[in-house]
Symmetry: C2
Subunit: 241 residues, 2 copies
C-alpha cells in the first residue's frame, strides 16, 4: 500500500484529534450548561470530554508513537516511556470520566451501569487498564523473561488495535444515548435541532479519527523495522541501573 | 503469535454467530411482538435481525473465507466466488434491513435518519456497498489491469477489517437506542428488566464475535501464503472463457 508522508498525515490527524476534543467541550458548554465538579448535571458533562480526550485522542496518539520514523533510531526506551506516559494519562482521564458519571448518577438517584453503552464503556476501560498494567510489567520492568515478552508482544499489539474500536463504539453509543435522554422539549432529537446536528457530526468525526489511526497502524511502510529481540530486552530498570 | 487450530476455532465462532442471530430473533419474538412485513412495529423488528445476520455474522464469515487452509491449495476462484456470494448475501440482507426500518418510520410518521446510530449505520452500508462493487469489478471481472489490482488489494483488505468495527458500533448503538425508546413503562431501561439484561448481553456477544473475527484476520499464521500476482490475475470471466 503506497504510504503518504508520515509527518503531514500526523499533522492532519492532530488537527482532527484537537477538533474532536474542542467540539466535545463546545457541545457541553453551549447546549448542556457547561462544567462543574459537584455531582450536578454539569459534572456529568466532564464525562464525554474526559472519555473522548483520554480513550480516543490520547489513546490514538499513544498507539502511533512507534510509527514516528525518528523512534526507529537509537534507544527505544524514551519512546516506550512516552507510550507508557500517554497511555497512563489516557487511563487517568478515563477514571476521572467514570467518577464524573458515577457522582452525577449517585447524587441524582439515577441507577448506574444499566445501559449497553455503560457495559461496553466499562469493559473498554477494564480491558485498557489490563493492557496498560501487563504492558508496563512486561516491557518496562525487568523481571519478565524474554520468551514471555516475545509471546506477549503480538497480543499487546492486537489488543492495542482492538480496544480503539471498542472506545469508538462506546463514544458513538454514548453520544446517541445522551441526545435521546436530553433532547425532548421543545425540539426532540427526531426533529434534528442544531445540537443534534452538531453532536452527530462530532460522533462521525470521532469515527473518522479512529479509522485513520487504525489505518496508520495497519500501514506496512510505517511499521518499525524489527531486527528484533534486542528492544524487547530493554526494560526500564535495567537501563536505569 | 501462537495460533490455535483453525477448525475448532471456526466451530466456536460459528456457534457464537448462530447464537447472535438466534438471540436477536428471540428478543424480538418474546419482547417486541414478533415479525411482520406490513409497515408495522413488527416490520421494524426485522431491522436488527437482518442487520446482525448480514453485516455482522455473514460479513464476518465472508471475511474469513481465505483463512480456511483448504482455500490455499488449487484455484483461488471458487473461494473468491464464495467470498463474493457471502458478501452479496450480506448486502441483500442489509438492504432489506434498511427497507424494514424506513417502511416502519414512514407508516408511523417517524422521521428517518436523525440519530447518530442511523448516520453511522447508513455510512456502514454505503462503505460496504462500495467495497463490494469495487472488489467485484477488480478481482472477479477481467478488465482491471494487474497493477490496479495489486494497488487496490491492501486497501480492500484494510476496509474489510475497518467496516466490521463500524458494523459493531452501529449494532451496539442501535440496540442501546431501541432499549431507551421501548423500555419506559412499567419498568424503564434504568431498572434493568429481563429484556434489558437479555439485549445488553446480546450486544456484548456481538462485540465478542466481532473481536474474534478481527483477531482471526490479524493472526499471521492464518494468512494465505502469497506467492502472489498469480491469483490476482485470475478473474471470473477469463477462466470461464
Amino acid at each position: 500500500m503506497p504510504a503518504p508522508p508520515f509527518i503531514p498525515f500526523s499533522v492532519l490527524l492532530g488537527i482532527l484529534g484537537i477538533l474532536c476534543v474542542a467540539l466535545t467541550v463546545f457541545w457541553n458548554q453551549k447546549w448542556r450548561g457547561g462544567f462543574a465538579w459537584d455531582g450536578s448535571a454539569e459534572m456529568f458533562n466532564w464525562h464525554p470530554v474526559l472519555m473522548v480526550t483520554g480513550l480516543v485522542v490520547l489513546y490514538g496518539t499513544a498507539a502511533l508513537v512507534y510509527r514516528v520514523p525518528r523512534s526507529w533510531e537509537g534507544s527505544k526506551l524514551p519512546w516506550k516511556m512516552l507510550h507508557a506516559a500517554l497511555t497512563l494519562a489516557a487511563f487517568v482521564l478515563a477514571v476521572l470520566g467514570l467518577v464524573a458519571v458515577f457522582e452525577f448518577h449517585n447524587k441524582a438517584g439515577i441507577p448506574n451501569m444499566y445501559s449497553l453503552h455503560s457495559w461496553l464503556g466499562l469493559a473498554t476501560v477494564l480491558l485498557f487498564s489490563c493492557q496498560w498494567l501487563v504492558g508496563f510489567a512486561s516491557f518496562l520492568l525487568p523481571w519478565a523473561p524474554n520468551w514471555l515478552r516475545a509471546l506477549y508482544k503480538p497480543i499487546h499489539v492486537f489488543f492495542g488495535s482492538a480496544i480503539l474500536p471498542l472506545a469508538m463504539a462506546a463514544s458513538i453509543s454514548g453520544i446517541n444515548e445522551k441526545l435521546f435522554l436530553s433532547l425532548k422539549n421543545p425540539t426532540p432529537y427526531s426533529q434534528l435541532p442544531a445540537e443534534a446536528w452538531f453532536a452527530n457530526i462530532l460522533g462521525m468525526l470521532i469515527l473518522v479519527f479512529g479509522l485513520l489511526v487504525l489505518w496508520a497502524l495497519a500501514m506496512p511502510a510505517w511499521k518499525r523495522p524489527e531486527p528484533d529481540s534486542q528492544e524487547t530486552q530493554q526494560p526500564l530498570l535495567q537501563e536505569a541501573s
